[in-house]
Amino acid sequence: MPLALYTISRKDLFDLLGRLAEINRVFVPYAKGDKLYFDEFDASKEDLIELGGIRQSQPLKTFLNPAREKVFNGLTRDPRPAIVVGVKACDLASLAIQDFVFEGGDVRDPFYAENRDNTTIIGCDCTYAKETCFCLAMDGAPYPRKDFDLNLSSVDNYFIVEVGGPKGEAIISGFNVFFKEPSPHARSIRESSRKAVERQVQSYIDKRGIPNTDQIRGVVKKNYDSTDFWKDMASTCVECGACNLACPTCHCFLLFDEKDRFGAKRFRIWDACLYNTFARVAGGANPRKHLYERLRNRFDKKFDFFPQVMNSFACTGCGRCVEACAGDIDIREVLKGLVSGKWNKPPHE
């Protein structure tokens, strides 16, 4: 199928976002130091909007399965559709996992489903990589190939726009005055920019010797009882759960009840499997009493459970957990250790 490609100038894109923001909640990435953060579109802060770069600090799940969502009694949901602009490929790859969990099975999570239906996702190519990026090792790429409604590839002062779904087509046809036919060279220009970032990611992977998915398959199961390995890996874990919360594929939540003068309410709140209480039952039994068991569980879930139930690793190589970890536990080094049987971390006490 031929790709539907258009171009839009940077100025026209911001005019378009302004128009879309009249009836939608539009979220765009803003630069803050060397990091990017999603926030509501504000034309006056146009200079800070970065529609390239790398993935934002917030994972995409923030918009679909928010950190805290009221799920019972007194539901007050914003009726306006959302448009999230500038989503990177490593976050788009997480949609398969989040969709599987919340939309799959016998029961759909209606809150996720509604958010998903009401959210338009506009992807964009990475224009550089960070040392923590390893999407290529996880069979991804630093540019979106699927799971977007529109995608933006930054070229000089304009963007090449690719249509990926009906919500994207609706924007093109509703605002066709902003979109131009691409030059005959658009595709090759996009291709060469993409190759350059790909080379950068690959160089980080090569330098560190990060294993690929073929090498990773089965290694958690194989090393499940390598207690020394897991204990060494967990020796600096402070059980903060940041790796879980920052992860675009981590989906676990708890149901939290509270009441106020209007009555009882229930919230669905992100939980973290690194927390001691995660699997504990009131009777006292805890299948994962030790911290190393909980760290191992995180890898077991991502690299053994999800391959078994949906034939996919639940890691997209975004590197957020590497940055978030206060104990310098590096998912890339854990995978390397699992594959090679060698690791250099101070032994546990």
Partner: protein, 273 residues
């Protein structure tokens, strides 16, 4: 919006029976259509405070009310123990797998319970009693910590009398002067009963350590892996396989269990923890 899986319906507490110092049976009347099949669990809510998963302990064919036999163990259950008849709780479910009664037909059904783990087994017994003649034999082996920890004291004798079909034996880990029965863990009363071991089924529910040693004893006695039904206690929360808390290997106890046959989970790490 589609059906909300996290919403509960209201239910009124009608009656509270003190089973032991820490265990009570709550009879509740849901204000709406809701039922279960023996082995399945439901989430019981104290509105605005929290919820916890329990397997109903009453006859699944009984309409109108449900029993829950609950030990005061955590935050929700301790508060629940302070509830009074007339109080309103929340209920959602049922969730998970049931005991496959169809498969038990014509067979010897050997039931092993420990402590408050007798609750789901009471639902199973009542379900079996609904059609008591289609099972070859019903045997109950129950262990409690002390004589005063035995639940359903006033009912157990009536189970014994069920048309001569039901063979009941009870043991206590520790006796007292009034106790004339067996003293020892439940495994001490699991014995060769001359059953048809190719076909006999056994159903186990109790604390994790009891389930572990009972299962090993049942295997020694000759029960087949696929005939050992275990009600696995895990931290089930959402009930629909999404929240992630009750994972056992490739399964979620809430939707793939809580009733598992031993052959399905025996290779998985940490099932008894």
């Amino acid at each position: 919006m589609k059906k909300n899986p996290y919403a509960y319906i209201k239910a009124e507490i009608l009656n509270i029976t003190n089973e032991t110092a820490t265990i009570k049976t709550f009879t509740i009347r849901p204000q709406g259509e809701i039922g279960f099949r023996a082995g399945q669990f439901m989430d019981l809510t104290l509105p605005g405070i929290g919820e916890a998963p329990f397997t109903p302990s009453s006859n699944h064919d009984h309409k109108g009310t449900l029993d829950f036999t609950i030990m005061a163990a955590g935050r929700v259950t301790k508060l629940l123990h302070q509830a009074k008849p007339g109080d309103i709780v929340g209920l959602r479910g049922p969730y998970g797998s049931q005991y496959p009664l169809e498969k038990f037909k014509g067979k010897e059904v050997y039931i092993v319970g420990g402590g408050v783990g007798l609750a789901p087994l009471r639902a199973l017994l009542y379900a079996l009693f609904n059609d008591v003649n289609v099972y070859k034999k019903i045997i109950l082996r129950y262990g409690a910590r002390t004589p005063s920890d035995i639940v359903y004291k006033n009912e157990i004798d009536s189970w014994r009398d069920k048309a001569g079909h039901v063979d009941v034996a009870i043991t206590c880990d520790v006796g007292d002067p009034s106790w004339k029965g067996n003293v020892g863990l439940v495994t001490t009363i699991l014995k060769d009963e001359g059953l048809d071991m190719e076909n006999a089924v056994t159903i186990v529910c109790g604390p994790p350590v009891m389930m572990k040693f009972a299962t090993f004893k049942l295997l020694d006695l000759g029960f087949k892996d696929h005939n050992i039904y275990l009600s696995m206690e895990k931290n089930m929360s959402c009930g629909v396989g999404k929240c992630g808390h009750c994972r056992i290997g490739p399964y979620y106890a809430c939707k793939d269990g809580p009733v598992f046959t031993y052959d399905k989970i025996k290779e998985l790490p940490g099932i008894w923890d």
